[in-house]
Assembly symmetry: C2
């Protein structure tokens, strides 16, 4: 058995040349003669030589690995996003180290540590819904580990991110419902530490202003995205004097619970109360009560774009990145209408 692991040294000694020559030969370095170069490459192939990546990582201070931190893979939005990241990464010889925060800020912090200690070259993050301090991300800049956020963006200055323009998406949703004749439109919003939640409010108010309508703050309610809180705010919305005939739900998952809450109140879906939602996940296609429309957020593209930004950041050297310009990529969402009305 030639079980022995083949190294550059081994090849060198068999060919009676120095390891450095072998290394250069394998990299087609011009200073190596054609003769020895082909000799080396031939023998390497014969012996089935495979470079020891751990040695290379160590030597080059680079791992060609990027960490991806996200709340929940079981949410189709994120599993689709990570596909975008992974596809783009593998095309560029990068590998993905994955971690789920399960929407727990503490676990997120810990995962950042793990990623850092594994020496990822960069980090792509969608933050947990209850993350409110950001030191663990800020610390990474000291290690020159670039961070790109997507979708769930923290409230920080000077960060790279890619997100969807939720303001515009919300305006689209609002106008769509207005056109269907709805006068009073409620909104189940997410936690206000998320940029996306603020933008939803912004889009809602923009639409109101354009339509010269006055703003009723009680029609917008924040929840923490848990089933209980969704039930609570849905019930609250539906017991208002100015009771909405349509509700914009934070996303397709929130929608599912909101629908259930409305049904518990003996309301007829799409008659007494209609829904519009965000994300446009596949479940909508099979759902018993799909939303009238859904704001497509292009998760795959968001992931892909985030990875592209990461690659760009990694290709620049440290000083180039010091010039403090930050990527802020805003994708335009698109309202997908599910009904024939």
């Amino acid at each position: 058995m030639d079980n022995k692991i083949i190294t550059i040294k081994e090849i060198a000694s068999r060919l009676n040349i120095s390891p450095s020559t072998v290394s250069r030969a394998l990299h087609d370095h011009k200073s190596i003669g054609l003769r020895t170069r082909t000799n080396v490459q031939k023998l390497a192939k014969e012996l089935n030589y495979e470079p020891n990546q751990t040695a290379i990582f160590f030597q080059q201070r680079k791992t060609f690995t990027i960490g991806v931190l996200l709340p929940e893979l079981s949410e189709a939005f994120f599993s689709s996003a990570i596909s975008g990241i992974e596809d783009c990464a593998s095309k560029n010889k990068y590998t993905v180290l994955m971690g789920q925060s399960h929407d727990d800020a503490e676990r997120e912090k810990q995962l950042v540590e793990t990623m850092k200690s594994h020496r990822v070259d960069g980090l792509i993050v969608s933050i947990a819904k209850n993350t409110i301090t950001y030191e663990h991300f800020e610390a990474l800049s000291k290690y020159d580990i670039p961070v790109v956020f997507f979708d769930r963006i923290p409230n920080m200055a000077n960060i790279h991110y890619v997100a969807c323009n939720m303001a515009s998406g919300t305006t689209q949703a609002f106008n769509f419902l207005r056109k269907l004749g709805h006068k009073s439109i409620g909104m189940i919003n997410g936690p206000m530490n998320l940029l996306a939640s603020k933008e939803r409010v912004e889009g809602y108010r923009n639409a109101l202003t354009k339509a010269r309508l006055k703003y009723d703050p009680s029609l917008i309610m924040s929840c923490d995205l848990s089933t209980e809180s969704i039930y609570r705010v849905t019930e609250k919305l539906l017991s208002l004097k100015n009771k909405p005939t349509a509700i914009i739900a934070f996303n397709d998952y929130v929608l599912l619970d909101a629908v259930q809450a409305a049904k518990n109140l003996k309301l007829k879906i799409n008659k007494d109360i209609s829904f519009v939602s965000y994300a446009n996940l596949p479940i909508s296609n099979y759902s018993a009560y799909p939303p009238l429309a859904s704001v497509e957020q292009f998760s795959y593209q968001q992931g892909q774009k985030a990875m592209e930004i990461m690659l760009d950041l990694l290709s620049k050297n440290k000083t180039e990145n010091e010039n403090h310009t930050f990527y802020k990529i805003i994708l335009e969402p698109q309202l997908v209408i599910h009904t024939d009305l």
Copy 2:
């Protein structure tokens, strides 16, 4: 700025001791005196020393990383399984390198290469549906990289795996439908290179035998899990002379398409034709036409168990693993009934 990276050497020179002493002190090696030990640890903390993992990986020939290869994260079954893997891994200081084959055998092969070159300590795999050659997995044994399969098990001898007993699950499903009065029960099966497909047939036939019924092979049809092929076999099943009144679908995703196909034929779901399925994914809860029952496959537990096996394999040394005993963990599935009938 003390931007300088803190290494063991640095600590050593500041304390005028040797690097080896520092290393041992940090590891609480007994041969280091209490004085210097605390000195070292104090200074290390002060300087915020962090071991260079890439150096350690290199030196120890171990990366504390395990690769996970699966078909599609967007399928809830797999995203749940990887959660089980990840949770178990991170509890044991392991990290997960993720790759999706997108059910493409070629890509799978390539990912195995990537994983290998990244020197993962082990690999957990659920194979692509069209994977029929296994050299890429067999090759790993030469590198002493243990492989644990789960759910989608290849047709290989001498492998470690964890799976659900699909035969028993199918028998349960079959008997459940019989009890509801169904006489002719069809099955939409998966590709026959999957062990799970064979087991479904086995369970189906076992149930028949027990009930002293005779076997009509035309009632079991394989598909390649694509939407088109699901439509095709569903239509075929429903145009049989011995037309089934109930169908066992390969999984909850197959079910969605099968239901659609049946509706296209103007059949009333749960009246003209009923369905039972596998996996028991959350979508069933929100679906317009949920199955009457679903065979829960405990994906999270499968992932977890696979990781536990992996940890065990990694804890043993090479020769211990040479004794050729292979883990075959079979979880008992459970029929979850969704209807009140």
